[in-house]
Amino acid sequence: MGDAFGAIRAVARAEVRVGWRATLLMGVVFGLVAGIVLGGVGLAGRTASAYPRLVEAVHLDDARTLVAADQPQLAAAVPSLPGVAQARTDEAWIAQLDGPALRFVSIGAPTTAHENLLDPVVVEGRAPARDAADEILLSESIAQSSGLGVGSIVTLRMLTLDQVSKFDVGFGPPAGPSTTVRVVGIGRMPAWGGALAPVQAGPAFAAKFLPDIIGYSIYVRLAADPDAAQRFGAAFARTAAVVDQISPSLISQYTQRTVELPSATVDPSVRAAEQVLVGGLVVFVVVLALGGLQVLGQSMVRHHGVRGGTQRVESALGMRASERAAARVLAAAGAAAVAGIVAGGVALAAGWLEPLGSQARFEPEPGFRPVWSLVLLGGIGTALVFSLVVAATAAIAGRRRATVVPSVRAAAINPLRRWPAALLGTRLAMHGRLGRGGVPAVATVIAASLAMAGVVAAISFGASLQRLVDTPARYGHAADLTIVDAREADIARLVADPRVAALDVGAAGTAELADGDQIEVTSRDVRKGRMPIAVAGGRMPTGPGEVAIGPRLASRLGLDVGDTLEVRRIQGGTVTLQIVGKAVITSQNHGGIGDGAVVAPDVMRQVAPGQPLYDATVLAVPGAADALFAELSRNLEVFQRDVPTAVANLADLVTLPELLALVLAVVAGSGLAHALLTSGRRHAREVAVLSVLGATPGQVRATLAVMAATTVLPALVVGVPLGLGAARVLWWQLATATGVAGDLAVPGRLLFVIVPAVLVAALLLSLAPAARAARTPPAVALATG
């Protein structure tokens, strides 16, 4: 055993002497890749856990309700209702917030101390002091939308209860007290809104403005039993009904007798965003991990393959395969340690990364938050994996023998291979493994093609995603403004307004298909200009008998352009509509994309019963949308363009494909660079033979250049179309699921640059082995090759 250890140590020392630089380089590259993978895992965990951690950090209430100020007996009864373990009652106000944008906000302030029940995480500044009546804390969303921050001074003009009762019919200027307060903190909390006021003040504020409250926000910690929520809800409804009979509230229409359950009910958009983001990260991490392992494996096989003969000598001297592999693992121990340290370091640095996209707004501990277990175990695991790959590849290289290859047809030399560089370069590139213990050429080509396909697919997918996010028309939000229930006089005025580039009047209703399925139908009455509605295929309907359907509806019904759609008439019977296109339109009812159909106004009247909802959609000339909105919103119910949740979730991911493409390019590029840089060493004997035959240094350089080009050309020829195909399939699936157009944005210019850039890079890389070959006398190369 001692002898075996001695032999292992001796071989390891020899391996370190001749190959420490290459092994160390591979250790660093693999460590970086593993670090990014570990960082990705940590980020996925931080993203996925942001919401539940915030829920825990703020001691989110289990149930909450809003009680009118004129029903104090109901508020007083809540803490003693069945199912309630703990209750906190805040006073509530509604005030006009003077600021860059005119808006109304609700204010909450407790009169008494409370413990471990609804404490916002203060991400900036501090909480209002208990004895300061002029300090407030804002929710992040209000701070962002109003442009206010810590230190801002704002005036709150409070509404009276009577004014609140007239909220929907107009109430004039605020008649309650006014006060000037200072923003001292920005708070983070899940489930802002409803009974939870986005402006929080302290007990001094509550005491000062107690006579002017409009209600009570009551937050409840439920008892531990499973039906506590049900018992509390039922009891609250019963009590409220009794109180309503005794003393009905002025604002009963705004105080629904329902109980919110914020801990149990998570906003679906939060869950959807979490799934999309974590899913995207997982794909990123898996692709990167597989790519890193593949590159390390091939590089190591090449590394050991160059000295495959050494292993045969060791074998002849009596060393077993396990001992030879152990010697190489020992030689690579330093590189493995470096890989582990680099991986751990990158994973540690990834602790600075906030949760991805929209989930960042739920992070309860912003800033540096490393996952120590991932750093330590990940680092150790990386070193172990590196060592395992070294052992496995050493075993593979040690097992290989020169293969007897079949005869080839003895034909004349292909005229295209007139140049010996072309003949030998292509042969060495395509048959590099024979007798040399290297990576099979086909494996290198497949790996390079897959890497290129991955890069191209990620770039194309990312470009399509970016185009979707940047082009509202592609998700059915072409208009800058939507005017609800627009009147003809207003429409006429807008049509004449030079700031309006396009104006459609739309009607929306529900139609029933012949099979009983109901779909939302819209019609567009073009009054000015041309609204840029995205058509995923075909065209918009221009007359009776034609319909354009949304991509998601088309997918659901299994229909395509050219098919027909049979819709029931209001008057009886059916009308057959020819599908002339796929239009990306947004539902006026639920905001879904691509679920409905567009028909001509005449068809709309035939198939949609009832009074349709009319709206006017306005596309402003560039730069005029905000002014137009400010002007119109004084008198009309106007909405600015918003981003649907599905698209917002995708927008959070928009940099991920680009990052994946970049990292894949670096990893695959490193592997390819290693393959090309070691090509000179692997083929030193053949290159020396070429010199023996009288090849000039230029011919040697040309041979290595042809070899490099032959290695990367198949990757380009196969990888680019394969990547575009994969991206097309992936994007089509995502687009169909989202309801947007499924045409891929091919980054033509980028691809046009990539192909020659990869070729040039390969040719430049071939200069290094060529220079080494020029420095090494053929006699030396033949003796050592």
């Binding site: 007897v404 290859v405 080839v408 030399i413 003949l423 048959h431 009288g694 000039t696 006699a779 033949l782």
Partner: protein, 264 residues
């Protein structure tokens, strides 16, 4: 024996026109200058422990059409000398004059061109390219010298035919026997019709039959006027040469300038 095929065929093969202006050996008369002249050649290799003085001042002359065997024990500097003569390495001191050209003054490119025109090399371990057929291995040498593909193919076929390997032209080296591989290597060395054939232990990796084949081939080439310098440590193999030069500790014993010195 297949190798016993007429060397007229070899002559036909090597008579094929070459793209480079290679001097025709047949045109060289008895009064022609020596093919190879070596003067004061020294070479020292840096080693981990101490420098290794491989050559310590070698003088050697090989005339046109001579078949010289260079003998000596392992480590005597035979192979180093052969590599320096072929321009595969550079000497520290001294001069090598090949076909009237002093090689130490040539750039890498010019040395390569001189080598392709005047030198054919045969090694103990063949050094054929594994990824090419026998035909391609031979044709590659002609292609390097600038021959057209058709011409290189024809020349390679003729040489393989002459050496009895036409049936094996499509085989990769791994599928050939040692003797067959060495014959392919010799065909490759002859592809550009060199004025000097240098052979480094050409029979060292062959069995007795294979060695006899190769030696017979060399003898026939010599009879056809080929200048040959063969390194060997075998007295039997050296016995086929016209002259034997002995080497020890980086020096020639008794000098190497006497064209008719030691007879085998």
């Amino acid at each position: 024996m297949q190798v016993s095929a007429s060397f007229e065929a070899t002559a036909r093969a090597v008579d094929a026109p070459l793209p480079d202006d290679v001097p025709d050996p047949s045109a060289v008369g008895p009064a022609a200058p020596p093919e190879l002249v070596v003067r004061g050649l020294r070479k020292t290799y840096e080693a981990e422990t101490a420098p290794v003085r491989a050559l310590r001042g070698v003088d050697l002359t090989v005339g046109h059409g001579e078949f010289v065997a260079l003998m000596g024990p392992s480590g005597s500097g035979k192979s180093t000398l052969l590599h320096l003569l072929a321009g595969l390495d550079r000497a520290d001191e001294g001069s090598v004059t090949l076909a009237g050209v002093r090689t130490e003054e040539l750039s890498g490119s010019r040395l390569a061109r001189l080598r392709r025109r005047h030198v054919g090399l045969v090694f103990q371990f063949f050094h054929l390219i594994d990824h090419m057929s026998a035909l391609e291995n031979v044709a590659l040498a002609a292609l390097v010298a600038g021959a057209r593909p058709a011409e290189a193919t024809e020349r390679a076929r003729d040489l393989l035919d002459t050496l009895g390997l036409l049936e094996k032209q499509g085989e990769r080296p791994a599928a050939l026997s040692g003797g067959q591989r060495q014959r392919v290597a010799i065909a490759r060395a002859l592809a550009n019709r060199p004025t000097l054939l240098l052979a480094d232990e050409p029979t060292g990796a062959l069995d007795s039959d294979g060695a006899a084949e190769v030696l017979d081939l060399f003898t026939r080439l010599h009879h056809d006027g080929q200048t040959i310098l063969m390194v060997t440590h075998s007295a039997d193999v050296a016995g086929g040469a016209q002259r034997i030069v002995r080497m020890r500790d980086g020096m020639l014993l008794g000098g190497g300038t006497d064209a008719f010195g030691e007879q085998p």
